[in-house]
Structure formats: C-alpha cells, structure tokens
C-alpha cells in the first residue's frame, strides 16, 4: 500500500518535471541566433557559386524584355519610390532627402548622358551599384529592376514630351496654367 502511494507521488513529481517546451520548440525561427556556427547565424548563406534549382540561366537581355504596360510602370513607380527616391528624389533630379542630409549627390536623370544611356546600363547600375551607390540586387529582383528601368524612362520622357502628344484634358490644364 505505501509502496503504491510512494510510486504515485513519484509519478506526479516526474510529470511535473515534464516540460514540453511548446512555446520554445527545438527549431530555429527566422533570424534566430545559433550557437552552432561561429558567426552566430542560424540562416546559412549558400556556398559561393551555388545555383538555385529554378534559377534563370539565360543571358541578361540587353534591352527591355517586357512590353511596357501601365501595370509595369505602376510597379516600377512603387519600387522606385521605395528604393531609389530617398537619393534620386521622386522626380529623378538627384536631390532626395538623404542627399539633403549630406549624401553625395547623384547625377540627374535628365542630363543628356543618362537620357542617351541604354536600358541595360540602368539595369546594370541597379544590379552592381555605381560609385558611391551600393548594389540593390539583393532587394530588387530582376523583374522589378526592368520595371524600375521603364519608370526611369517615363520620368525622362515626362520632361521632354511634345505638347501635341498630351491628352486633351492635360493639355487644357497646361494651357490654363501657362495662361494664368
């Protein structure tokens, strides 16, 4: 009898020691530190030269590979405003807020040299960086880079669009503003 009772007490005590750790399970969360590796990261970077299974191995196109649609331009505008506008400004003049705070000023997109530059040149600047500008390849995937290129082209065109090509509504507004 006392033996059974003792066993019961021990069992309860043992159960209390059972900690299932449901709140902190033996797996890594994103960004969690690890003591297994010297640099402390649980997320490992692939070995240099690794090719992803679904990687696109075809050569980078030399010109815009997509039809330039309104959708592409809107995507380009969104990505440009996130990643480029802090320095290049939303209009591409190269006087963004970070430049106001002391960052070396980038050239304006509206100078002849950059108007004449190829689509591929702008794409490559985003991919590899240029002088003081770092590479944006890690945060801007190739499709988005082309969308940004299309939008930069639109910004450049906007300064040089012939008045005759404007839609009637915009032209009326322009005439009104010029007149008034």
């Amino acid at each position: 009898m006392t033996g059974r009772r003792l066993a019961l007490v021990l069992l309860v005590a043992a159960l209390a020691g059972c900690d299932q750790k449901m709140a902190d399970q033996p797996r890594y969360d994103p960004l969690e530190a690890s003591s297994e590796f010297p640099d402390g990261m649980s997320a490992r970077t692939p070995v240099a030269g690794t090719v992803a299974r679904d990687a696109d191995l075809s050569a980078t196109p030399t010109a815009m590979p997509f039809p330039v649609t309104m959708k592409l331009l809107q995507r380009g505008r969104e990505r440009f405003d996130i990643f480029c506008a802090p320095c290049h400004s939303v209009a591409g003049d190269g006087d963004g807020i970070v430049v106001e705070r002391g960052f070396p000023a980038p050239p304006t997109y509206h100078q002849p040299a950059l108007r004449a530059a190829s689509d591929r040149h702008i794409y490559d600047v985003i991919t590899d960086g240029y002088g003081a500008m770092y590479s944006y390849a890690a945060r801007v995937p190739p499709a988005d880079r082309w969308a940004i290129v299309a939008y930069v082209r639109a910004l450049q065109y906007a300064r040089n669009a012939p008045v005759a090509e404007l839609p009637a509504q915009l032209r009326a507004r322009l005439d009104g503003e010029a007149g008034g």
């Binding site: 902190d24 399970q25 969360d29 994103p30 990643f83 802090p86 807020i97 770092y134």
Partner: protein, 218 residues
C-alpha cells in the same frame, strides 16, 4: 479538563480560515490582471539595442518606406530585419565616424550580423504571417502603432490571443485599401464605411473561419 485554547482563539481561527480564502482569491485576481498588464506583455518597453536605431528619425523625418529595410513583409511570413549592407547604403557616406554606428561598421567588416534584441515575439505554437495581413488591408500601424514616433522600437499592443481575436472576430473596422497599409497616421476618407464593406468582398476575406483554432495553431 482545562480548556487548551482561550476563547479568543475562535476568532483567530475564523480569521485565518477566511483570510486564507480571501488571500487566495486576491492572488488569482492580481495574477490574472498582471499577465494581461503592460508589465508582462512588454508593451511600451524598449529593450537596449546594439545600435540605438531610431524609426522616428528614419521613417518619421526622412520618410523612408518600411520595405527599404523590411523587405519580406509583402511576400513572406516574416517581415525580416535589414542586413548590415542596407544600413551601409547610406552610412557608408554619412555619419561615417559616429561612435553610435561603430557596431554597424564592425559588423560589415567581420561579416557577423548585428544582434538586434527582438521586440515582438509569439510563442512557437502560434503561426503568424505578415504577407496575408498586408494583402488583406491590415496596416503596419494597426498592429505596430505609431512606429514613426518611436525613437526606440517598442510594442504598441500585447500580442495576446485576445488581441488577435479582437480583430479576427470582426476585421471590418480595421481594414484599409491595401495601397495604404504602409502609411502612418492615415486619415480615412469620408466614405470609409462603404469602402470597408466592399473590401471584405473584393479581397475575399472569409470572416466565418477566421476564429477557428487551426488558423493560428497548426
């Protein structure tokens, strides 16, 4: 036989018996209050960070978009924190000698990431996903508060199950057009009631299943 206890012992015994029960109730009350309090849910506390990174400065004053630094937020469960290179896109040229930024420069040189102290964290038995909330019109501001006013990052809400459910039971009053989810201090337009009603349909939000346990515990 003489009495062992004095008459007054009756009072003491009663006091102890009742007192123990009252104390027990009090402990339960205080405890349930405490675990929901800001002290336990870590609301409005800013942990010490390796670099005193200020969202007020970078988001509020410079107006940098969340996605410049938290790139995963639209496409994955985790919003992600910026790599050291991301800080260096700007700080390679400005504030290059600031002591405050010494850990960032060391991290770039050594390849060892900065060890940010996590401000938000759910237990491992809860599944959370940023991308779906962003695409279904729930704003950063709704869950993280006025980030652009925070000199140091802190929690704006408790992240308890009750808090998640308070929205999952009735998401409509918390929705915005998905294009506005990154905006801070957003002012709803006049016809917001109508917009929110239509968002439920347009975005295909299935309000019937949102409180099922398996949504968050899978």
């Amino acid at each position: 036989m003489p009495q062992i206890f004095h008459r007054s012992a009756n009072g003491i015994a009663r006091f102890v018996l009742w007192g123990a029960q009252v104390a027990f109730l009090l402990v339960i009350l205080v405890w349930t209050g405490l675990v929901r309090s800001e002290f336990f849910t870590e609301v409005a506390r800013a942990p010490r960070q390796p670099v005193p990174f200020s969202h007020r400065h970078h988001v509020g004053e410079l107006g940098i978009d969340c996605r410049y630094c938290h790139g995963g937020v639209e496409t994955s469960a985790s919003a992600g924190l910026p790599a050291t290179e991301v800080c260096m896109t700007c700080h390679s040229q400005i504030w290059t000698n600031a002591d405050m930024l010494a850990p960032v420069r060391e991290s770039l040189a050594s390849g060892e990431p900065l060890r940010w102290q996590r401000v938000h964290g759910l237990p491992d038995f809860v599944y959370f996903n940023h991308a779906i909330h962003i695409h279904k019109g729930v704003a950063c501001e709704t869950c993280h508060g006025d980030v652009d006013d925070m000199p140091l990052m802190m929690r704006a809400h408790s992240l308890t199950m009750g808090w998640c459910l308070s929205c999952h039971r009735d998401p409509e009053p918390n929705l915005r057009p998905p294009a506005e989810v990154f905006a801070m201090h957003w002012k709803p337009p006049e016809d917001i009631e109508r917009v929110r009603k239509s968002l439920i349909d347009v975005l295909g939000i299935d309000t019937a299943t949102m409180t099922d346990c398996y949504v968050c515990h899978r």
